[in-house]
Symmetry: C2
Subunit: 314 residues, 2 copies
Amino acid sequence: MSGLIALDWGTSQLRAYRLDNAGLIHDARTRPWGVRHLPDGGFDAALADITTGWPALPRLACGMVGSRQGWLEVPYVDLPADLDRLGAGMRQLRAADGLDVHIVPGLRNPHGPDVMRGEETQIIGAMALQPSLAAASNWILPGTHSKWASVRNGAVTDFCTLMTGELFSLLWNHSILGTGQRDALATPDAFERGILAARDSDAEGALSRLFSARSLMLEGSLAPGAVSEYLSGLLIGEEFRIALAARRFPPNEPFQLIGDAALCDRYRLAASHFGVTLRAPVVDAAAHGLWHIAHHIGLVSSNGPSLPKDSKSC
Amino acid sequence: MSGLIALDWGTSQLRAYRLDNAGLIHDARTRPWGVRHLPDGGFDAALADITTGWPALPRLACGMVGSRQGWLEVPYVDLPADLDRLGAGMRQLRAADGLDVHIVPGLRNPHGPDVMRGEETQIIGAMALQPSLAAASNWILPGTHSKWASVRNGAVTDFCTLMTGELFSLLWNHSILGTGQRDALATPDAFERGILAARDSDAEGALSRLFSARSLMLEGSLAPGAVSEYLSGLLIGEEFRIALAARRFPPNEPFQLIGDAALCDRYRLAASHFGVTLRAPVVDAAAHGLWHIAHHIGLVSSNGPSLPKDSKSC
């Protein structure tokens, strides 16, 4: 028996995958044990629980588990970052069960500055599944802290973070914009209206339109139940406006999504209003990325050609 | 005995002033009884308590007390709005003590749309104290929902709302940017650094730089205790960037501040980085505005020329 235990260990969630030596996923488990919400017994207890019954395989983790608040702080690797540089930046710790856990470094963009932990592994995984993207591509990973990234010749060459998801959550749950509008309805029109308001805000930007989520509702031209969708459109639209205004992401190169399917649907609709076509999201990108990195550094040996073998082909 | 009881009744606070018939303030009281935080007995109880011991004078209120969640909803008056139009839009209710309370309408900017309640009265008051501003001036009223406004010939002709104060509070108290940085230090350098980051974000806007409040701290170039000041500078700087990008507020006309002194100091420093000079804030602008409106509609009769008498002179 050989293969890999791949750990996608973020701020709020832990996902574990058992992969075989061809990189196929045989089992997957999820626990609400992000690095800020660990069970009693901490990291060791979380790992023991989520891998219960699995064989003793090499273990590779990515995400906030490698941050200052994580299990072991793994220094960021500066851009441009390819498989070789990620591999060289790896660190390992000895868990309470006597076996090692290897951790992938996050990336640092000195021109920002900006940082990511976990998304680099998802991009590696998605490129392994779709090698044509390695030459030149743009990436959008929507979420609490959305990442936009560029890849050239198999290396991440640029990225930026937009706090879209966190801003939406704060504004909807804690600001005047969410006051009294708890019975949100599904209103795609309001979502698109928000996207267009952000797009057409031009150099002012969508913060200049934020209060309109309230004033449109007060004057009756936006239904109280539609405020949530309008706000979502406004903030996702602003993400596109900002990223495209920066001219860092060439619109003529493919844009690849990675993330939650429903959220990615929102991004694809938003993109259509900015003249951008987004490719459907890649599933289980982190698991594939971890397997591919593990293979690259020799942590697992492949007996099948199911994934590209080195950075030249990804 | 004659004069006016002036009520500046907002979302989180109630301020009451007793003015004489020359418009001078003889007494002022503050209670934490905004329209969302009323004492038992509601509006009537709050009014009775805060005016205890004062003579039975005409009563005029402004602010959220005239909103849908207030004591009596007073329809907005559309721009342009001068003293005559504000007076024509007033409404009154009979309080439990058998006497009337008059309420000033808020303003609606159909080109937005946007709304204000209370700030229109502050602007009227500040113009009464500084009549030279009536011809052509810009106004900044910093706060939870900052307002920028234009005045021409004594009328408010344009305004917009920027949720700067509420955004700062949300991000500092509830987002990842405030995590673990509770021991904020006074660091004016970090505040200016935030202002410049917003200004130099150009068409991207400061939302594109928001995550830098964390990444600068992680890489050690921003002290953990300085994150709060940096974030404050970033958001106030963004307010200036947006308002000036809109080209609605001519930079060659005077900019007048109304608001909390410490907050206004921040705005004056920010303004200096945008080539704008802000005049020192007007104190008790709401009380003076209420007196001036009351006088204009004949609710009080003046026996002294201490304030301009009509809209032509303000």
